[in-house]
Assembly symmetry: C2
């Protein structure tokens, strides 16, 4: 507890030593603006001096404006005193929030401006008050019972999917789900087949676990599963409801072939259903899971539907894997915190979730139309859109064009954040003619201005 | 959205089909007590029948007591109707909360009955209202700025440790910190030296990452670091402030030797400071980190000091590792949720944290004395306690005794949950004479009755 080292033999009085030490710590920024100094009694005990000595030192600090005192509150460090600390050689930490762009078409961002933040806060207040003390301790690596029940009910009412809540396992988002899955399937040095193109963040999750990745090409209907024949893998990662990034829906015959492959080879199918809540025409796509619940690991997430920082996703696991999943989670990060789980369960139970999805589906559907119209009015008929009318992103093909790194750099410099399908491709050179745009988080005006800005960059190419 | 499949050709009227389907779903437990049925308008739209048909079906359900209707609220499923679902072949999921014991000496549990739950809730309410919308999106794999600043300030005022907040990285508890560290140091197939005995949960975390483990023996002063010479490892895992489970404090000469070893070999020292807040006599032990900040990865946690379900820990990282740490976290589970981080920052800022630690330190210190007294009055002088007067657990040696699996099983059967140091040992046979008891979560009466119960089991051995 000795933040102050006194030189008791020194000629400088103790109160001055205390004053100087604290003052220097304020100036160096170590004690920052608003920092509450210990009470005079506490500090006196800590450094074994009389309370009066500390009081005198504090009075000097207050008098000279280094600290502020208010009746009944601790003495706090005053504002604006820190002289910049110079700390050499701190590497730049990659921030997720990057500079502002004039047009920001990055993918995977819901529109938080329409999120009912106040309603969520109220729900969280209410449910956190109801948490029992038991839930402040370690509870379960599987996740909260009532949340799993509500997810089961939601899957049934939204997709007609009948899932026992005991087969559902809560995770810290879909990323953790995939991280755990590859570790569970013993992928160190073993193989996973992935769609090519495939979300490159997810690919990195597999590579970080020392997985060998086997790319399987994708066409407008999703993974070309015939390419799996003759290949041995432990798992197949697939986005059958809405392929990322190309947008195709995997047709029934390919689904059947995939399941036969899995059953014959003993591989698991990892179904990532990252945004099927947002389909703008027709019924939601039935998950692959429904066809083979003991061969498919279904991955769902609330990051896109609610908000990314909620850090809640889930998997539906074949029974064979459940015990080792819990063991693995226990030694990875134990469990989710209870506060968000309880709030989400209540959000589902009260159908605030359903209501939010309905209104966002309408909004995103309109934005998708807006985006397509903007392409039409700027680019004429030189392009066509890939995939199903669903999700928060769109792949646009410009036959004959090449959107290479130089082009993307030029976009950046012009204030347009955009990526290409090529950037998410493993085998390079096959998707250079396709741009990839996230639009869910953009207001109509932002979409129109963004596409017109993009048009001027493409024209000057 | 079709939870109800209608047979339009059937002779059964549609309203009866709707009624029957919902009734069966209630009886099967699929629609559970309190579940809100869709509004009659919604359901009518979904299954394409007139609203009147749905109203009639609902009336039947309400009349027969399957559902309850209240003005202005959704119709909900009534209580107590579910006939047990029989689901064969669901494996037992290991629950963390296990049956109640007459005496429960498990380790690593703080006493939550003394946690200021209401104060925490209030803090969480306040800080979650202040969160900006930006913090509902992806923010940073490093963790919230203000939390890192408060942790830095706390480390300084509690241990005199001067750490730049930019060197602190928030994690989902210490378990995740260790999971990430072994993945970061590329431990797949590579080596980590650990204390033997060592917390067996943590050992499992290393083994799950395919680490090869090199056990280094421990004596009453902690790791016998001379055994490291001639061994090549990527990292050394160590608990120098309070060895788990034996309780020793690593002396300065061993610390220096350890750092020389690390500097010569390029290995990192992973310092797990899991409970040094609770030391009952004298000043807190200075972390190893202070001696070699670019060779030591310091791991801290709030699970023991506040409550386990908070899921917040942190690491202090050498600068060389910081960029790849962020990359790895991004592809493991992205980041912590903001709600607990903001609340904890405020808890620290307002010194509610310091106050809680002070009062718990006093309480735990008394319980430790109580435990030692209870051993004295029950077991005479046949035993002695290992380690420093610190932490929430105690290792007790009974020279000549053998606490093997049969003995521990007998304890279990007598209602005493207890473990042995042997259970946490890698090389078996060296610590059979030592029991390991967690006492922090036990009231004085529970301690006294527990030890007397333990005494009767030992006597009957």
């Amino acid at each position: 507890m000795c933040t102050i080292k006194l030189q008791r033999q020194s000629k400088t009085p103790l109160k001055r030593q205390i004053y100087q030490t604290l003052r220097d710590q304020v100036l160096s920024g170590r004690l920052y603006a608003g920092y509450a100094l210990p009470s005079t009694r506490e500090l006196a005990e800590q450094i074994s001096v009389s309370r009066n000595t500390v009081c005198e030192a504090y009075d000097m600090l207050i008098t000279e404006g280094f600290a502020l005192s208010r009746q009944g509150a601790p003495t706090r460090v005053a504002d604006g005193l820190s002289i910049n600390r110079t700390l050499p050689d701190i590497p730049k930490i990659p921030a997720i929030n990057e500079p502002h762009y004039l047009a920001d078409f990055r993918t995977g961002r819901p529109d938080l401006r329409h999120f009912p933040k106040y309603l969520w806060q109220q729900t969280m207040h209410k449910t956190s008050e109801e948490l029992s003390l038991k839930e402040y301790s370690y509870s379960s690596p599987q996740g909260m019972d009532k949340l799993r029940q509500e997810i089961s009910a939601w899957l049934f009412r939204s997709k007609g999917l009948s899932v026992d809540d005991r087969d559902i396992f809560i995770t810290s988002g879909a990323t953790q789900a995939l991280h755990l899955i590859v570790n569970l399937l013993g992928c160190h040095g073993s193989k996973i087949a992935v769609e090519d193109p495939c979300n490159k963040g997810i690919l990195q999750t597999f590579l970080d676990a020392d997985c060998e990745v086997e790319p399987i090409p994708v066409d407008e209907k999703g993974m070309q599963v015939e390419h799996l024949s003759g290949i041995h893998v432990n798992a197949v990662y697939i986005t059958p409801s809405h392929q990322f990034p190309l947008g195709g829906i995997l047709p029934a015959c390919r689904r059947a072939e995939l399941i036969r492959y899995a059953e014959d080879s003993g591989a698991y199918l990892v179904e990532d259903d990252y945004d099927s809540e947002f389909r703008y025409i027709g019924e939601p796509i039935a998950p692959l899971y429904a066809m083979a619940p003991q061969r498919v690991i279904y991955v769902g997430t609330f990051s896109k539907v609610l908000f990314p920082a909620i850090r809640i996703g889930y998997v539906i696991l074949p029974r064979k894997l459940q015990e080792s999943w819990c063991e693995l989670r226990l030694h990875t990060d134990v469990q989710n915190a209870p506060f968000e789980q309880a709030a989400l369960a209540e959000f589902l139970r009260m159908r605030k979730f359903d209501r939010h999805i309905r209104s966002m589906r309408k909004l995103y559907g309109e934005r998708r139309k807006m985006l397509l119209n903007a392409f039409g009015s700027n680019f004429g008929d030189t392009w066509h859109a890939w995939g199903d009318a669903a999700g928060l992103h769109l792949a646009i093909e410009f036959p004959g064009m090449k959107f290479d790194d130089a082009f993307l750099k030029k976009c950046m410099e012009s204030g347009v954040r955009i990526t290409s399908v090529e950037r998410h491709s493993i085998q390079k050179g096959r998707h250079l003619d396709k741009l990839l745009l996230g639009y869910g988080h953009l207001e109509p005006g932002e979409i129109q201005e963004g596409i017109s800005l993009l048009h001027s960059v493409v024209k000057s190419k």
